[in-house]
Amino acid sequence: MRIKPQYCCCNFYSSSHLLSGSSHLTEIFSVALHHLVINKVFSSLFLSIQLSSIGGIVIVEKTQISDQYFLAVQKLVVLELGMVLLPVANQGEASQLITQLVREQSKDHNSNPFLRKQCSQLAESSVFRTVQQIPGVGKTKALLLLQEFGSIHRLCNTSVEELELVVGQTVAQQIYTFLCS
């Protein structure tokens, strides 16, 4: 940690030391927002975070007084530097948030609901659904077409004559026009 201690609230500082042992290492910096702006420690602070070459989490104190700086800080930290910025109202909130962050880091990745994969749809169902999007084709015709030609790729490379044998002249022409023009 390369920030001068006076810019950090002490209890936040020690919590971040706890984190440095964790495997998915993320540094947490906690700084009063107005200190960031008024003392112009901005550039040096973020330089040090960037140098550490790991994604940093910045926790800022967002109060009625410091509110006016928030948007500018957020723009810099999140949009320009690509780091994480989380606002809190006071030190109590900061310690609660850090506790949750630590808890999340120590958990198994699979327990994170936002990382869990949705059960993927059966490939047959997806292909069936796609073929039904061809104008003039409903469930019955989609099934006939897929039973006959096997894949969307094959279907796209089928002549209108071949299609006619399966779905009749009018719809065959409609399908052919949709796929090939």
Partner: protein, 247 residues
């Protein structure tokens, strides 16, 4: 505002896609995007996300109150999970709830659940931005679109489609885990569905503006050998599925 000072503002016009449901819940976001920020706003039926600001980034707008307790847990996680499967980048904008007329200012009691949601989002690589009102949200959306433009991911294709192109779009939108924008890009890049179906994964990646991994997923979908035995019975026949639903 820093509108005139920022040299980036002079760049070619930005385009943002907005889900049609936002017309009612985010009217001021939309009007502010157009009037204050001069962004081209295209309202369409995105269904999966609230906004799309580039070829690869989806943005969800959530009220603070929706994240404070677990009432909306399933809805929120399912939305994000779905976006994770479709987009390379996801951003959640946490917006302060609007104070309704006659209501005294809402007291925001931070909860452990809220901190847990933020932590999980951070861990999942989801970008989080905080906004105090709809106008601010509009500014953040514009900033996101600008950053994405700088990284060569801006939306460049025409966003309005009609007739045959609209039918092609619907066809592409049925592909598993394909984003609205990837489908839109494919519509404009490939002259016909047949051309697209005969393309290599790297051509598809170029055409749809997606990663090679995503392009390979599309390629597999196109070439998948359909086996009717594997199709769930309820999909085969309408009559059967109705009967199953009743029992």
């Amino acid at each position: 505002t820093a509108l005139s000072r920022d040299p980036l503002e002079k760049k070619p016009s930005l385009c943002i896609l907005v889900d049609s449901r936002e017309i009612s819940s985010g009217a001021e976001v939309i009007s502010s995007l157009k009037a204050v920020h001069g962004v081209k706003v295209q309202v369409c039926s995105l269904s999966s996300s609230d906004y799309i600001v580039s070829n690869r980034m989806a943005v969800e707008r959530k009220f603070l109150s929706e994240l404070l307790n677990s009432v909306n847990r399933n809805k929120v996680t399912q939305r994000i999970q779905r976006l994770q499967s479709m987009f390379e980048r996801i951003c959640v904008i946490v917006e302060k709830d609007r104070i309704k007329p006659g209501e005294t200012s809402r007291f925001f009691q931070r909860t452990q659940y809220y901190d847990g949601v933020l932590s999980a989002l951070v861990q999942a690589g989801v970008k989080i931005l905080f906004s105090s009102c709809q106008e601010e949200t509009a500014g953040l959306l514009k900033d996101l679109a600008l950053v994405e433009q700088r990284k060569n991911s801006a939306i460049r294709v025409p966003t309005e489609v009609e007739g045959h192109k609209q039918e092609m779009l619907n066809f592409y939108l049925s592909f598993p885990n394909l984003s609205y924008l990837a489908a839109l890009n494919m519509c404009h890049y490939f002259d016909s569905v047949k051309k697209m179906a005969n393309s290599s994964p790297s051509d598809i990646a170029t055409g749809a503006q997606v990663s090679l991994q995503k392009a390979e997923e599309i390629y597999r979908h196109l070439h998948y050998g359909f086996d009717v035995q594997m199709l769930p019975e309820n999909l085969c026949a309408k009559g059967r599925s109705n009967a199953a639903a009743k029992s």
